[in-house]
Each structure stands twice: as C-alpha cells, then as structure tokens.
Symmetry: C3
Subunit: 137 residues, 3 copies
C-alpha cells in the first residue's frame, strides 16, 4: 500500500511537472531604449510563429511607457498585429500609466492594462511560466 501511495504521489507530481513544460513565456520590458523594444518584439514575433500553440505575454512597466503609446512607439504596428493572435498578449502596468499621465486612449490598439506589472510577472512565474528579462546592456 505504501508503495502504491508513493507511486501515486509521484504520478500526480509528474503530471503537474509535465504541465509546466509547456512553452509559456512572460517577457519583462522596462527599457526606454527603442533598440530594446525592437529586439523584444522580434523575440515574441519569432516565438509565437514557431510555437503557435503556446502562450506568450509581454509586460511593460517602469521606463517602457513609450513602447505602447500609439504616437510614440516604434513597434506600434507589430504590437497591434501580434495582439490579434489568441496566444499573444501585451500588458501595460496601470501604475506606470498613472506616473506618466497616460490615458487608455493613447495606447496602441490591443494593449491591455494590468493593475501592477511586477505582480503580473511574478504571478505568471508562480504558475510555471518561463521568464525572460529584455535588456541589452
């Protein structure tokens, strides 16, 4: 009985384990640097094309405000197009918007607002998502 118990516990854990192995990635962008915005978009674009059944989320906060402003972003068209995919999402931190005095209407189409960028990222991590910090210096 004990052996069966151990086995069952291992099986249960293995099932949860294998679920974690799905490709789910949250990208963290805090840079004001347009070169970083462009790299970040290239990463999520290539990966969502290569893994159409997986999930990708990009979270912008801190100094990355301009990346999702319709009239300032150098990657606005890419974000709008990518956000149409069910497995790709772009999230901006409400706290960052407030700090920059940004209104929802100014955002690139398809960008969603989350209450807190950091909480959004660590929640995804705790759900087994992979984490990639986008930074290039």
């Amino acid at each position: 009985m004990k052996k069966a118990c151990i086995l069952l516990a291992i099986i249960c854990t293995s099932v949860l384990w294998s679920q974690e192995k799905e490709v789910k990635i949250v990208f963290d962008v805090t840079s004001a640097d347009e070169a970083t915005h462009q790299s970040a978009i290239r990463h999520i674009k290539l990966m969502s094309e290569a893994y159409p059944d997986s999930e990708f989320e990009m979270v912008m906060y801190s100094k990355a405000m301009n990346m999702v402003l319709a009239d300032k972003s150098t990657v606005a068209a890419d974000i709008e197009e990518l956000a149409e995919n069910a497995n790709v999402s772009f999230k901006i931190c409400a706290g960052t918007m407030k700090r920059y005095g940004t209104e929802k209407e100014q955002l690139v189409k398809g960008v969603e607002v989350v209450p807190d960028g950091i909480i959004e990222i660590v929640t995804k991590q705790s759900e087994g998502w992979g984490y990639i910090k986008e930074a290039h210096q």
Copy 2:
C-alpha cells in the same frame, strides 16, 4: 483507496502550490547606474506598501556596490527606512564587497551581507519566490 490516495496527493500538492502564490519577490540589482537604483527602490517601496503581508528582498552584487555605500548611495535614506520593515530586506554580496575593498561599516544601515549574491537569488527562486531583474537598457 487509490482514488483517495490520488486525491490526497493532489491536495498536498495544491497546498504547496498555493503557498507559492504568496507574493514573495527577490529583486536582482547589478547596475552602477543611479537611475536604476532609484527605479529599483521605487519598485520595492511601492510593493511593500501595497502588500504589507508579503516578503521582498533586494540583492545587490557585481557593479551595484555604490547603491549600498553610506557615503555614495543616492538611495541610502530610502534603504535605511525600508529595511526597518520586517518584510523587506537588502542583501549585499560578500564577494562583491571584497572585490571593491568595502568594509561592513561603510554600508547603509540595515543592509545585510550574504556570502554570494547569485546563490542567494537562486535559492529564493527554488523556494518559490518570484524573480525580477532590475535593468533599464
């Protein structure tokens, strides 16, 4: 019996799972850039105010030495004040201190020394803490 076993294993795992969902965040700071120090402090300050029952730790190593030097840090007062909270801690890597010839007396009050900054961070990760790299380029 087997069903009960599976159920119990799932419950056990779920309990551990939900414990991981607590907000516990380790921040990684390696930059010499004062703007990055200030962003990092803003993040930990806002979060520890918003989540007073959660835990936050900021680990400095590599090029971030000045951030915790009493006579050089631009965020010394904030660190000292925040470190008084039971749920907030600041850790500097002993290896980094050695490399810069820093003595413990030179540190901002409240900053603790850990043997190795990277080991500190990955240990927290393995205990289910969320991870945020502070970097802005």
Copy 3:
C-alpha cells in the same frame, strides 16, 4: 491510512523539492557590451570553482553574438577553458547565428549551438534551474 497517505505525499514532494535546491543556474546574455561579457564570465567562473558538483550554463542570443566569435570575443580564452569542465556549458542560439551570418567554424572552441536560445532558457527554468539575467544598466 489517510495520515500515512498525506505523509507519503509530503515526503515525495519534499524529495523533488530538495532536488530543486541543487545549484543549477542558467545565465542569459543578450548584450553586445564587452563589460557585460566580462562580468558574466567572472560570475560563471567563480561559481563553477566554488560549486564543482553543480551545473552552470550560459546562453547567448540577440546582441551577444560577438561574445562567442573566436576573432572578436574578449573572453574567448576563458570560455574555451571553462567549457572543458563537465559542469559548465556555453550555448549560442542558432537563430542568432543565422541573423549575423555566422558559421559554426567561427565560434570559440567549446561553444555549442542550440536551436533557440529563449527556449533553451525557459526549458532549464521549467526543470528547476535558477535563472540569472546578465545586464548592467
């Protein structure tokens, strides 16, 4: 019986848990900055010396191409020497190589090619490896 079951499930989970506590670290390098290359190498060198029974992997992609080019890297000798250790490996993203028109022959000796740098990193994360982003701004 139920108690035994719970206990066994906890033991099983604890065993898996403690396995996660082994020091296994994947380092993420995307910078073109030679100072970042040198910091990254110092980190993996010191850690692999201090923890000879642990595993370390450094993944280069995006703007870090030069770090592993034999005729351009400022850390080529270190990489070649470190890669001789069974517990240290250096991986370059095949997609990045293609983007820069790099041939395998141009790589520093000991550097291995992986199909996708980001997938390599998040796979390690999902297997319980710690994650450190190398970035210094």
